[in-house]
C-alpha cells in the first residue's frame, strides 16, 4: 500500500476517523468540559496543541531512540513520561510568559496530561507506521477532530439547558452520552471514504 498523503491523513483524522467519535477516546474531559462553549473551546484548543506536538515528539523518540536500540516494547512507559513532562513544561512556560493565553487555554493543560486520546494518538502513530510528517498531520487532525466534537456537543448542551425539559435521570452525563452516540452515528456516514492504514 502506498504511504498515505499527510494532507489526506489530516482530514481523515478530523472526519472519517474522528478519535472521539469513532474510537471513543478522551471521553472523560469530553463529558466534564462540554457544558459551556467557552470552556469547550479552550479545552479543545489545548488538546489540538498537545496532541500535534506529542504525537510528533513521540514519533522522534520512537524511531530515533527506541527502535534503533530495540526497545520498542518500552514505548508505553516512555510515551507517557514524554507526554507528561512536555505538558508540564509547556504549562510552566505559558503561565510565565503568556498570562492571557494561560487564562484561556493553559489551565486545561494539566487536565489532559492523562487524557487517553493523547496517548492513543501516539500509539496509533506507531501501529500505523506513520513517519514524522504524517504523525504531525495525524496528531493535529485528531486534535481538531476532538475539538470539533466537543464544541458541537457543548453547543447542543447549551441549547438543551435553555429549552429542553429533561427527566432528572437523563440530566448531565446521561443525555451527553446519548447525544454523543447519535453524533457518532452521523460521523459513521464518512467511514470508508478514506482508508487510513
Amino acid at each position: 500500500m502506498d504511504p498515505i498523503n499527510p494532507l489526506t491523513l489530516f482530514f481523515a483524522a478530523i472526519f472519517t476517523n474522528n478519535i472521539l467519535l469513532t474510537n471513543f477516546l478522551g471521553l472523560c474531559p469530553f463529558l466534564s468540559m462540554s457544558g459551556q462553549k467557552k470552556s469547550a473551546f479552550g479545552m479543545g484548543a489545548a488538546v489540538v496543541f498537545v496532541m500535534a506536538s506529542t504525537t510528533a515528539l513521540n514519533n522522534l523518540v520512537h524511531y530515533k531512540i527506541l527502535v534503533p536500540l530495540g526497545l520498542e516494547h518500552f514505548r508505553y512507559i516512555v510515551f507517557i513520561v514524554v507526554i507528561a513532562a512536555f505538558v508540564q513544561l509547556v504549562e510552566m512556560t505559558v503561565e510565565r510568559f503568556f498570562p492571557s493565553l494561560y487564562f484561556s487555554l493553559g489551565i486545561f493543560l494539566p487536565l489532559i496530561t492523562v487524557n487517553c486520546a493523547i496517548f492513543g494518538a501516539s500509539l496509533f502513530m506507531v501501529i500505523r507506521k506513520y513517519d514524522f510528517v504524517q504523525s504531525l498531520a495525524y496528531g493535529a487532525g485528531s486534535g481538531i477532530g476532538w475539538m470539533l466534537a466537543i464544541i458541537s456537543i457543548s453547543a447542543i448542551r447549551e441549547k438543551l439547558q435553555k429549552t429542553a425539559k429533561l427527566p432528572r435521570g437523563l440530566e448531565g452525563p446521561a443525555i451527553t452520552l446519548i447525544i454523543t452516540g447519535l453524533l457518532a452515528l452521523a460521523f459513521l456516514a464518512f467511514s470508508g471514504m478514506i482508508r487510513v492504514q
Binding site: I65, L71, V81, V82, L89, M92, E95, R96
Partner: protein, 366 residues
C-alpha cells in the same frame, strides 16, 4: 544481558533527562520571587510565589477549609481576592454564583500567587492560632470545678476573641492517655484580661479533666488553639436571658464581664442551676455584677437541696425557672450553655413559648 543493561540505561536516561528539564524549568521559569499577601487590609505575609493561594496560606499557619485538597472540586476554600488574582478561571466558574463573582470571591486552590495579592478571609480563620501557654494559677471553685488561668508566652500579638468563644487545650501524654489529648473549654475571661481563664469540671474517667485536677501544676507549659465557636455576645436592644449549669457558666460570665466593661444597660437575667449550695461558684462576682449592672439579676436555682435547709433562693431546675418566669412570645436574646440534655430541654421549652429561634444561641458541652 547487555540488552537488559541497555534498556535500563536508556529508559533511566530518558527519565533523568526529563527530570532535569523539569527541574530547570521549575527553577528558572516558575520562579515568581517573593510576593506579599495582604490579608484583611491589616496583616502582610511574605511568601514564595508560584503555589496556589490555599497552600501558601497553609504554610503560614492560616487554614482555609478544604476537603478535596486543592483539586478544585469541593469549593470550600472560597476567599475574597480583592486585588492581583487575575481573571476568574473556567475551573472556578462552575462553583461561583453571580453574587460571589461580583464580590470577587475565588477558589483559593485555583488562584496562584504570582504577584502581590490583597485578600479578605473570615476573621475567625485569620485568628485561629496555636499558642504556647503557661499555667498561671489553679484554684478550687467547688469540689469538682477548678478555675485555671493561663498566660500566653512566645506570641507577640496575643489572642483576639469574642466574649463566649472557646479554645482547645492540649495536655501531654500521661499514665491515663496514649498521647497528647485536647479538649474544648470555653473562656470565662474577656480579651481585655490578657490572661485566659477556664472553668474545668472533673469528668468521671475524663482524660483531660483528670489531668487538670490531679496532675496540672502552676507554671506548667501547655499548648492551646483557638479561638473557636459562634457562641458569643451579640449586639441588639432586646432583653437578655442567660441560662447555665455547671461549668457552662464560663462563657456566660464572659458575656456578663463584657457587658460590665462596655457598660451595656440591657436588662439581663441569669438562671444558674446546680445541685447544692456548695456547687455554686463565682457568687461574689455575680452579686457585685448585679450592683454594677443595675439591669442584671442573678437567679441561682438548686435541684438537690433538702427541704429543711436554710436555702432561700429558687429550687428546682433551670427549666422550671424558664417555665415559670418567661412570658409566652417574649422578645428575648437567649444564651444557653451547659450539658446537652439541659440545652435540649431548654430549647424545646423556649420553642413552645414562642421565642424566636434565631435569637437563641447555645453551646452544648458534651
Amino acid at each position: 544481558m547487555p540488552q537488559i543493561i541497555i534498556s535500563v540505561l536508556v529508559i533511566s536516561g530518558i527519565g533523568a533527562l526529563l527530570a532535569v528539564l523539569l527541574e530547570l524549568a521549575d527553577r528558572f521559569i516558575a520562579d515568581y520571587g517573593e510576593c506579599n499577601i495582604l490579608i484583611n487590609k491589616q496583616k502582610e505575609l511574605k511568601v514564595q510565589g508560584g503555589s496556589p493561594l490555599l497552600f501558601s496560606l497553609q504554610d503560614e499557619g492560616i487554614f482555609i477549609p478544604s476537603a478535596c485538597g486543592g483539586k478544585g472540586t469541593c469549593a470550600y476554600c472560597k476567599v475574597k481576592v480583592l486585588d492581583g488574582g487575575g481573571p476568574v478561571l473556567p475551573t472556578e466558574t462552575p462553583y461561583l454564583s453571580a453574587e460571589e463573582l461580583e464580590k470577587n470571591v475565588r477558589l483559593s486552590c485555583q488562584v496562584k500567587v504570582r504577584n502581590d495579592l490583597s485578600i479578605e478571609i473570615p476573621e475567625e480563620l485569620f485568628l485561629i492560632r496555636e499558642f504556647k501557654v503557661k499555667v498561671d494559677r489553679i484554684e478550687d471553685l467547688t469540689d469538682y470545678i477548678k478555675g485555671v488561668t493561663l498566660e500566653i508566652v512566645e506570641q507577640d500579638e496575643g489572642i483576639t476573641y469574642k466574649p463566649g468563644q472557646y479554645i482547645q487545650l492540649e495536655i501531654p501524654k500521661y499514665k491515663l492517655s496514649s498521647g497528647p489529648e485536647f479538649r474544648a473549654f470555653s473562656m470565662s475571661s474577656i480579651p481585655e484580661h490578657q490572661k485566659i481563664e477556664l472553668f474545668i469540671g472533673l469528668v468521671e474517667k475524663g482524660i483531660v479533666s483528670t489531668y487538670v485536677h490531679d496532675f496540672l501544676k502552676e507554671g506548667e507549659k501547655l499548648v492551646m488553639r483557638g479561638p473557636f465557636g459562634d457562641f458569643y455576645y451579640r449586639e441588639s436592644d432586646r432583653d437578655i436571658l442567660l441560662v447555665a449549669t455547671g461549668t457552662g457558666l464560663a462563657p456566660i460570665l464572659a458575656i456578663l464581664r463584657h457587658m460590665k466593661k462596655e457598660k451595656i444597660q440591657r436588662k439581663a437575667t441569669l438562671f444558674f442551676g446546680t445541685w447544692t449550695e456548695e456547687d455554686l461558684y463565682c457568687v461574689e462576682e455575680l452579686r457585685s455584677l448585679e450592683k454594677e449592672l443595675p439591669a442584671f439579676t442573678y437567679v441561682p436555682t438548686l435541684s438537690r437541696v433538702p427541704d429543711n435547709s436554710s436555702w432561700k433562693g429558687a429550687r428546682g431546675r433551670v427549666t422550671d425557672l424558664i417555665e415559670k418566669q418567661i412570658l409566652e412570645g417574649a422578645d428575648l436574646d437567649v444564651y444557653i450553655c451547659g450539658g446537652p440534655e439541659m440545652v435540649d430541654s431548654c430549647l424545646g421549652l423556649l420553642k413552645k413559648k414562642g421565642i424566636a429561634l434565631e435569637q437563641i444561641y447555645f453551646d452544648k458541652f458534651s
